[in-house]
Structure formats: C-alpha cells, structure tokens
C-alpha cells in the first residue's frame, strides 16, 4: 500500500494550490468589478450595478460572455505563437503565487496539525518571483508579433522595452530589504517584521528604514504591470488596444486576467517585503487574523491602482524611458549604496 500513500501525499500537495488558485481568481474577478465601479464613482457615473445586488454577479456575467463570444484568429497570424502567447502570459502570472506567505502558522482542523500558510517555502523565493515575472514579457511580446498587425507589433515592442527598463529599478529597489534581512525567504522576511504594533515593518522600521526603496518599488511595479500612468503598450488613442488588438473571446480574457493577477502579485510582494505581510494587532494570540491583515493590505494596493487610474493622465513614451533610466535607476542605486553603508557601519542596529 506504499504507492497509494505516495499518490495521496502528492495529491495533498495540490490542495493548497487549488485553494489559492480559486481564491486568486475570485479576487481578480472582484478587482475588475471594483475597478469599474470605483472608476465610475470617480468620474461621476454609477458603473455596472444591474446584475445581482449592486452588480455583485457582474464578473460571472462577463465570464459567460467571454466564453460565448466568437473566437477570431487573424488569417495571416503565426498560429502556434498566437496560441502560445496568452498561455505564457497567464501561466507566468499565476506561477508566482506559490511563494507568498498568506498567514502565520495556523492550526488546520481537517489535517489536525499546525501549518504555515504558504504553498512552498524555499531559499530563493524572491529570486523565483523576479525570474518568473521576467519570463512573463514573452507573453506580451509574442502576442504583438504573431498577430501580424502593426498596432499589435508596436504595442508588443513598447511593452518589451518598458518591462526590461523598469525591471532593473524594480529588482534594485528590493536589494535594500534583502541586505537588511539577510535572507531571500519571504516567510522569514515577514517573521522579522513582527511585533512593536507595526513599527517593525520594513517601510518605516527605525533601524532599517526602506521608505525610498518602497517608493521606487511601487512606481516600477505600476510600470511593470502596464497600468495607468504607464499603460503605453495599450494606449488606445495611438495603438487601438496594443498587443491584444487581434485577440478575442477567451484568449483576450486570459490576457486581461494575467494583467490583474500581475497587479495582485506586485501588491502581495509589496505587502510582504515592506508592509509586514500578515503582521497586525492580535496576530500573536489569534494567528488566523493574519490572513485578513494580509488581504487587507493587498486590497489597499489594489485600490491605489484604481485610484491612480482615475486620477492620472498617461505618460508619453520618451518621458517614460527618461524617467525610468535617468531618474528611477540612479535613485535605486543610491538607495542601495546608502543602505549598504549604514548597514556596514552598524547604524541600523
């Protein structure tokens, strides 16, 4: 019966993955709804409020519509790459979810044991996130190329150059935190930030302050996810819809979902590294509260995204490149130099 136990063991590994997958997709669905409603309120409209109470069932109506729409493939597209691109986009977006610590060690009644609420805990978790995100560029670039449409190609090229440029400052902004924590394990980084009623969070912790690192990360993260004010790859006034102009029905929905999952990813990373992850008042005695603190902080970032979209106009492309290379990158490097110097001379305790 040993083989049966082995199979059961492997099958158990899929349970947290499946739960996370479903929760993430639900959060994505309701982020889309929240975005449409909040944006409507910012612009003095009502937004979708007909399906279900206050529009709460709207995401499912949208999903049904995406499935039932005709799936159009352009005649002269490069078929294989055209089909591959949305797969790459959504896969790389979802793959990063396995490393985030959603909560502290919690007693799980079904298993009858105490478990850390993280799918996989390993040495290079942070590098894994950066690596998978950098592979995500292919989804957008290949979509633009394979559609055989000049607007798509322009959008794909813009996206690729934008992502390469802002990935640098994004990666460099995290080095300050890594320097001070001495580990790449996200769970360990969150544990280090516990206690002192939130004063130990890396963003304002007196002995290892990373406020500028946080700001650089936030700006580059918005650029990485192609969101307003950095949504040049899909600037509708110039490029129709950018790289996904030729995509329809469920393939378009995959790109759409990938964008929102990426938003969720960078929000979770910001929460984990700078805002103390699942830490909050009362977590020490009631560990399950940590999950809600974590979700609350992530929702704050998602709201920030929507707020920015309702407030800011779009950058021009040369402004975007100048800002990334001539301002953000030097500031990120300065942040590393200062952090390293202070850490070396022991000014950070």
């Amino acid at each position: 019966m040993e083989w049966l136990n082995r199979i059961l063991e492997v099958a158990w590994g899929f349970v947290p993955i499946t739960v996370t997958f479903i929760v993430v997709l639900m959060i994505v669905a309701y982020t889309v709804l929240a975005e449409r409603r909040v944006l409507a309120f910012i612009q003095g409209r009502l937004g979708p409020n007909r399906v279900g109470y206050g529009g709460l069932l709207q995401p499912f109506a949208d999903l049904l519509k995406f499935i039932l729409k005709e799936d159009i493939v352009p005649d002269k597209s490069t078929r294989f790459v055209y089909f591959l691109a949305p797969v790459v986009a959504i896969m790389t977006a979802l793959m990063t979810m396995i490393v985030y610590p959603f909560g502290p060690a919690v007693y799980i009644p079904i298993l009858g044991e105490v478990r850390e609420l993280v799918i996989a805990r390993f040495d290079v978790a942070l590098l894994y996130v950066l690596g998978i995100t950098s592979v995500g560029v292919y989804g957008i670039a290949l979509a633009g190329w394979s559609s055989n449409n000049k607007y798509s190609l322009m959008g794909g090229l813009r996206a690729a150059s934008q992502l390469i440029s802002y990935e640098l400052s994004l990666g460099l902004s995290l080095i300050g935190v890594v320097l001070l924590s001495g580990t790449l394990d996200l769970y360990a980084i969150v544990e280090q930030q516990s206690g002192w009623y939130g004063l130990q969070w890396n963003i304002w912790r007196p002995d290892r302050i990373q406020f500028f690192g946080f700001l650089i990360y936030l700006i580059s993260a918005i650029a990485e996810t192609n969101r307003v004010p950095f949504d040049l790859p899909e600037a509708e006034t110039e490029l129709v819809a950018g790289f996904h102009t030729e995509y329809s029905a469920m393939k378009f929905a995959l790109f759409f979902m990938a964008e929102y999952v990426n938003m969720l990813t960078v929000s979770m990373l910001a929460t984990t590294l700078f805002l103390g992850g699942w830490n909050g008042p009362g977590v020490a005695s009631f560990p399950i509260l940590g999950v809600f603190y974590f979700l609350g902080k992530v929702v704050f970032f998602l709201f920030l995204y929507i707020w920015l979209r309702g407030t800011l106009p779009r950058f021009r492309f040369d402004q975007l490149m100048n800002f990334g290379w001539k301002f953000l990158l030097p500031v990120a490097i300065l942040n590393i130099i200062f952090t390293a110097t202070f850490a070396y001379f022991g000014l950070f305790g």
């Binding site: 082995r6 492997v10 490069t78 294989f80 790459v81 591959l84 390993f122 040495d123 290079v124 590098l127 894994y128 950066l130 690596g131 998978i132 995100t133 950098s134 592979v135 560029v137 292919y138 670039a141 290949l142 633009g144 190329w145 190609l153 794909g156 090229l157 690729a160 150059s161 992502l163 390469i164 990935e167 790449l184 021009r316 040369d318 402004q319 100048n322």
Partner: protein, 215 residues
Amino acid sequence: MITLLFILFAGLAVGCAVSVVVQRNPLYSAISLVGVFVSLAALYVMLAAPFIAAVQVIVYAGAIMVLVVFVIMLLNVEEEVRRRLRLRFLIPTAVVLAAVLIAETAFVIYFVQAQPSPMDPGTSEVGLTASIGTGLFTIYLLPFEITSVLLLMAIVGAMTLARRAQNVPVGVGVAPGAQVLTRSIVNPKAIGDATPVITNSTAEAERLLGGEKEE
C-alpha cells in the same frame, strides 16, 4: 518521483535544443532556446542548486533572450530558405564528431566512479544563496571582480560604438528650401518640445541643424 521529473525536464531540454537547430524561423529557434533554459533551471533545482536555477532564468531567459526576441521582432527577420548543401564534407565530419562525443559520454558513465545519487535538496547547503555569496566575496573575490571589469569593458565598448554613429557631418540630411522645424529636431536636448522654428532658406536650416548640435 524525482526520476520521473528528471526524464521529463531532460527530455524537454533535449527536444528544445534539437528544435533550436532544426527550426528555419529565427523566432521559433529563440523560443525553443528559452525552453532549453527553463528546463535546465528545473534540472539545477533537482541538483540542489536553487540559486543557479533562479539566476539562469533571470539572466538568460528573462534578459538576454528577451533582447534577442526583441531584435528579431524589430528587424522582422525572414524565414531562412532551404538551400542545397555546398560543403558536403561537413556531414561525415559531423557523424564522426557525434560518435566521439557519445563515446566520451559512455566512457564517463561506465568507467568513472560517479556519486551514488544526486544530492538531496533538503540537506545540501552548497547551492544555497548564502554559501554562494560567502564564496564569491571571500575565496573567489578576485575572479569575481575581474569578471565584473570584463562586463564593464563590454558596456563601455558598446557605448563608444553607439555614440560614434551620431557624429554626422553638418548639413547632411537637410531638405532644400524654406521649412518649419520643431525645436526638438533642432536641439536634441529639448526632447518633446514642439515649438515651431521657421527657416527661410536651405542655408539657414543647415546652420540651425548643425549649429545647435555642437553645443
């Protein structure tokens, strides 16, 4: 379990590597190469070297190949046409070299005493980030710094070559006649400034385009 995963990723790596060579479309070759890098990274993880795996994905798949794909897309490289083989002696040479390579591999597998099993990822600490960092900044500091200088040289060289192309002689590319230019064309420093600059003759436009560039 680990054997199954090894067969899966090793097969994927070999398949993608063959595809890199066989494909006629350069973009397909590039995508296959990305596949090779990703499956190699998975193999590194199984060999208890997660740091190398992560760096493999970030540097090769995430940075270098993105640039290659970018250039292929930008230049719109056409599919290679299948031509008749001219250097016929290459085929027997390739066969002989392949035989030598296979023989070497067989020799290594059968006669060299290998480690009984791959290192257990749970217990080995050789491939972890901390031990690699310690090694890089203590024992291997000099090679590490020399490699960095090498990369710096490459960057400086690329910058020099790229800048040289901009020293175009004065007046080249000026259209004849009176014209209206934007300030951003006349003065490269005023990027995005669309204020019109009116010139009444070819000579004036030439002077404007050449004159402000030199400052």
